[in-house]
């Protein structure tokens, strides 16, 4: 079971959290003209990196904050977690 440091609450077991996918995917701005490809890259296409992966987690059974986790997808090692407005 993963042990994840919520930037707001501290170390907590994985079962308090929900996963949110690749954090590098950025939603296109509202009302912006974009190509179909750009939109599909946002909705569907994923790099799904092997190795260091920055991803979203949601502390659903805790403070209900979304935050970023840098984790190795091959070993599950977690290097860093950060609030949404912080850099990893």
């Amino acid at each position: 079971m993963l042990y994840i440091k919520c930037p707001f609450c501290g170390m907590r077991s994985q079962n308090e959290f929900a996963y949110g996918g690749d954090a590098s995917v950025k939603r296109p701005e509202l009302n912006k003209e974009i190509s179909n490809n750009e939109w599909d890259d946002f909705v569907y296409n994923r790099k799904s990196l092997r190795g260091k992966h920055i991803e979203l987690w949601h502390h659903v059974s805790g403070c209900r904050q979304w935050f970023k986790v840098q984790r190795d997808t091959a070993t599950h090692e977690i290097f860093k977690t950060a609030k949404m407005d912080e850099q990893i």
Partner: protein
Amino acid sequence: MSQAYRIKDKGYINRKKLINFKFNGKNYTGFEGDTLASALLANGIHLIGRSFKYHRPRGFFAAGVDEPNAKLQVLLNGHSEPNVNATEIELVEGISATSQNCWPSVKFDIGAINNLLNKFFPAGFYYKTFMWPKSFWYRIYEPFIRKAAGLGVASIEKDKERYEHKFEYCDLLVTGSGPAGLSSAYAAAKSGAKVILAEDKHRFGGSLLTDDVSIDNLSGKDWADKIISELKEMPNVTIKNRSQVFGYYDHNMLVMFERVGDHLEKKSKFTPRQRLWYIRCKEVILSTGSIERPIVFGNNDTPGVMLASGAKEYMKVYGVLVGTKPLIFTNNDSAYETAIEFKNNGVDPLVIDSREEQNSELVNEAKNKGIKIKFNHAVIKANGYKKVNSALIGELNENKSEYKNTNIVECDCICVSGFWTPSVHLASQSGNKLKFKKEIDAFIPDKSKQNEVTVGAANGDFTLGSTLNAGFKAGTAASKKINNKEIDIQVPNVNEKNHKAHDKFWCSPLPKNIKAKRFVDFQNDVSVTDIEIALREGYRSIEHVKRYTTLGMATDQGRTSNLNGLQLVSNIENKIVPEVGHTTFRPPFTPVTIGTIVGREVGKHFMPTRLTPMHEWHEKNNAIFVDAGAWKRPRYYKIGNETMLEAAKREAKNVREKVGICDVTTLGKIDVKGPDAAEFLNRVYTNAWMKLPVGKARYGVMLREDGMVMDDGTTTRISENHYHMTTTTAQAANVLSHLEYYLQIVWPDLNVNVVSTTEQWAGAALAGPKSREVLAKLFPNIDVSNETLPFMGYKEADLFGVPAKIFRISFSGELAYEINVQSDHGMFMWEKMMEIGKEFGIQPYGTEALSTLRIEMGHVAGPELDGRTIPYDVSLDGMVSKKKDFIGKRSLTKSAFTQSDRQKIVGLIPTDRKTSIPEGSHLVEDKNAKLPNPKLGHVSSSCWSVENNNPFSLAILKNGKNMIGKKLFAVSPLKNKSIEVEVISSHYVDHEGKRVRS
């Protein structure tokens, strides 16, 4: 005589307490402190079961978790359990055990015919045959094979025992209480670290219980007892026996199961049988010891052939002789301890040593005691069917490939030792890649991937002195890492005999004229020949060998066979063992009861049950409930002998004609607050929200980014910056996470907060033409007229002293209100509404009537919003703003979504106006067309229209409204039905929506 093989005054069992048990129907006795295995051996029982494939007689091979053969069906506390390892289960009064996989009995087993035909059943034989005629595999061959396989019989009784979970945190977990574990736990505990020490067996001490050593002038066992009692006194130490750490998972989470109840004679109702421990620790010391490796020889599976360490343990711990004419077959020194122990107990062993003449301390001691030893010899094969009665031995030639001479020696057991294999399972599970240590011809842990270190025999260190040294060091190092304390611990003086190197001899060659099977994996009946065949046929990767022969895949997971298998493969392939590599170790280390893994979430506790504050009232009034996620909702309220359909019709009709009341507490409720709340809603919902005035509600639809409808509901502006959002029952949690995602990640600049208030409010819908009259009486102090509280209006008012919120919204399509009060007052509200509504003919209605009402109104719900429909598909075109952007809008331009004949919602009535259309039917033009019959759409929701008194359905149909007036067939081949239907509008009742506004 009972317990004829018990040695006088030996062992750590309690001879004062006699225990009765049964094996294969016969009564036996043993002592407290016995395992089932030691008690049976004390009674001279060796034949314990039959092998999986050839049904060969099998006996005890080991004394612990490494036992491959002794799996019994055990009846205890009224429950029968298959595959119980007799070497692990403690003897308690009343155990009844039977042999598995044999018929009619273990002594005479018909299945043994397989053994005679074994020539025709080589590795992988089933891949090569049973193919003709085609249908015979499933009908004839396979059922036969299935019956033959399978070891024990699973009881289908419900398990009445209790299983618990525990979550524990510690600084250091030590797995195993042998010398390595004790010393490291002791060192770390002395410095104050919070330590958990886990021991699988019920006695602490591991190899100290059986090895001939002394520490600080104490015997190994006494020293272990002393350390354990000191550890028990320390408040920072938890020591657990009967506790197996079986899994090493990510981020130093280890999992252990504790056998709590089975050995107790009397236990309280609340004593669990087993307990699962999730242990999160900062550091781990793996002191799991090692397992003795067998030497492979002919008929080495005959009962009476046993690991030398097992024989020694039975003598030393249990005071049981496994034979009176023992042969010790070894390639190393350690088996000499077994020989000496036999001799000390008045039994003369013969040692067969594959090595040339040795002069180590231990060998010399054996010689001095007059033990006969044959060096340069090997056991070629065991003789005897149900028990060893002699052995063919031979003198080895120079390169140990053939024999100079052979002869037969009588014996009643063969104790075999092929040196030691470190138990590296947990280290491997942690991600540690193993490395091959040449000196011991086995794998040991390499670089740590997590905070773990392996100490002692598990690390390939087989001497006590250096193990203790390493243990104290590892304990000190761990505690230093944890609390930066370093204490000085005096490493005790150790007295042990030094050992000479082992011989790389693990498989006795068979002379040409000798036919005998040489087993590598006992439980799965994998022999040397099988491995040779696999390699010959090109299954050369070790994983291929394993899968093709099933080597190491039995319930003992190859603990005594993996390394010998690897060695054989590398010999044949002319490689060294590390080149062949090893198969992966996976949890659990030993099999774990599924009940333990699940814990307390059984029966009704599978999932929490959510009840509304009015639940008791519903129960009292004959509500039949339906599961809505975790919620229980009244489906209908049964009067007399009504069927569900009759009740639903009555309830729905009452709403259409008079007034009904429905518990809507389960709807998701979210408070949306902040100066940017309107802007936020405007982005979340497909329709416009900027101009909603305070005190007004609006219906909204929200999409996923892929354009599919995610949820719908009404949101009310309570005050300037405060909105009350409702969601469907099913999507409540998802919608909240969705909103938080956008607020926290995508638009953090918006000043809005959301919080779930679902549990805070009890809700009741009041619906029907007379609902306003009821409302007026409920709230006599406010004006509830259509002018002051119009459709989509909102008011706060006082309900006989209880603050209430009144929303004029409708799902039924009638004039309707939803009233919310704080949950505590839910029952008060409900009863008040029933009381006041009585004169107007109020009746409660459940979800069936609710469905009827919404379906005939053409309101969409779950079956239509199935995650595959966009707003245009379900007649929500008017809800989609053309002017503003919102979540998912960009997807709506996809070509599939704008295609003109896309499947869209319509209404259906049967042309006979009588036959109900089953939900899940599909619409076709020709009901008799040949398959595949092209489908035009499907029936999503059906009801009996109470308004028009005939069946009515909603359907998602190709070309949607353009099909109105057409006749099609709704077919349900599953129900053997095809019904001619007419396509009509999805708004079957009041399509102008007058009633809700009345």
